[in-house]
């Protein structure tokens, strides 16, 4: 792409800023940071042990339900290139492209949750649409009870709307929404947003529900690219037919 050098040139100050910050951090700050990270690692390791046990249990239970468990996806880290795109879209540019095997419609995460998906791939960069873009919708389910819905971007970074929640649905403030995996584009089970507001409208078929994305959409720096690995996941039998129907409309990963 002819515009790649311009984008890189504009990105230089932010890279320089990072380098300067990295190099000029004082010893005490670094020591504190190391201590913090060590504590975090210990905590995470403890959690991971529990998680492994749970994963095995999950696989065992799922095998009883006659559905395979996806062994985990391959992920890779990319960085956001600090350039402004069209101000009327929530798009960002990342520093990996088709040379790094990024593909169109690839899911993008950060450490807190789902960020969006790739919409355009150049050799060394790709364009990512964030879940807050008004053109974006993501299939989600309530983590607590498995109720499935769709979260639509609003054009405001801190808010998603769930326009298709019936008034009598069991949903309340603070509910975690995770990806449902329907549609076959996003891996299932990743956190998307936390419900912040539920207003039931007795006169209308649907409640007004908004949620706040768990990923930090307004100050992202590093993102995770996800490749589906291992056997294709199949949901338990009760929503299998629905997922199948979605796949017929939208073949998953067909663009790879």
């Amino acid at each position: 792409m002819g515009i790649y050098p311009i984008q890189q040139a504009i990105n230089i100050p932010s890279i320089a800023n990072d380098i300067i910050n990295d190099n000029l951090a004082s010893r005490s700050t670094l020591l504190k940071r190391i201590e913090e990270l060590e504590r975090e690692t210990t905590l995470n390791n403890a959690r991971l042990l529990k998680l492994e046990a749970l994963e095995h249990e999950n696989i065992r239970l799922r095998s009883m339900l006659d559905s395979s468990f996806k062994i985990g996806e391959r992920v890779s880290i990319a960085e956001i290139i600090r350039v402004d795109m069209d101000p009327y879209k929530h798009h960002v540019l990342i520093n990996k492209g088709s040379w790094d095997k990024v593909f169109r419609l690839q899911p993008i995460l950060d450490s807190n949750g789902v960020l969006g998906q790739v919409v355009n791939v150049a050799p060394k960069t790709s364009q990512v649409i964030l879940i807050s873009d008004p053109d974006h919708a993501i299939p989600v389910q309530i983590n607590r009870n498995g109720f499935r819905s769709i979260a639509v971007g609003t054009g405001t970074t801190g808010r998603l709307d769930l326009p298709y929640i019936p008034n009598n649905t069991d949903i309340k403030n603070g509910d975690l929404l995770v990806t449902s995996g329907l549609g076959g584009r996003f891996p299932s089970g990743y956190p998307v947003a936390k419900v912040t507001e539920v207003i039931t409208n007795p006169g209308k078929p649907f409640a007004t529900v908004s949620a706040e994305p768990t990923a930090k959409l307004d100050h992202i720096k590093e993102i995770l690219l996800v490749w589906r690995g291992g056997p294709k996941q199949q949901s338990p039998t009760f929503n299998y037919s629905l997922e199948k129907r979605f796949e017929d409309i939208n073949p998953p990963d067909g663009e790879q």
Partner: protein
């Protein structure tokens, strides 16, 4: 002058590249809406200064690259730039002789035209822009015109672009 007809074309290209850079420099979100259309301003300047050399086709190419740069619908900037460049080339005599403040008004009108067409097509594509901030880009473009005009004129005279 008649022997070396076209020269220092790289200055024009450099000015467009600088304009592109100004278009994607990160700004706070609120200021992002008011960002002047630098590439279009540069194209208008070159249309007025060198109408026999820069015109509709160059504007189309510059617009196409801007679409790629900003991730807008492909051809959208190309279309509006072409229309604005056509007007600028048609009226270059009048724009050239008018004083700077009245040039600013002309630029304001051209920018509003660009934004109007842009907004129409955005609306057709199903994502209408409804806030008033949108039009601030035109005003800031007109405000920036004297700066763009004088710096490009210095460039043109120093490097003898013809």
């Amino acid at each position: 002058m008649s022997i070396t007809k076209h020269q220092s074309g790289w200055v024009i290209i450099a000015s467009i590249i600088i304009a592109y850079a100004l278009l994607i420099i990160p700004l706070p979100e609120e200021l992002g809406y008011a960002r002047p259309e630098f590439a279009l301003l540069a194209i208008i300047y070159w249309c007025i200064a060198l109408p026999e050399r820069i015109g509709v086709v160059s504007a189309w190419i510059v617009g196409l690259f801007q679409d790629a740069l900003q991730g807008t619908m492909i051809g959208l900037h190309a279309l509006t730039f072409t229309i604005v460049a056509y007007i600028a080339v048609t009226f270059y005599h009048r724009i050239r002789v008018s004083p700077l403040w009245s040039q600013c008004l002309t630029i304001l009108v051209l920018m509003l035209l660009h934004q109007l067409i842009f907004r129409w097509i955005y609306g057709f594509a199903g994502r209408p822009i409804s806030d008033l901030y949108y039009w601030s880009a035109s005003v800031f473009s007109a405000v920036m015109w004297p700066v763009v005009y004088s710096s490009l004129r210095i460039m043109r005279r120093n490097f003898e672009v013809k």
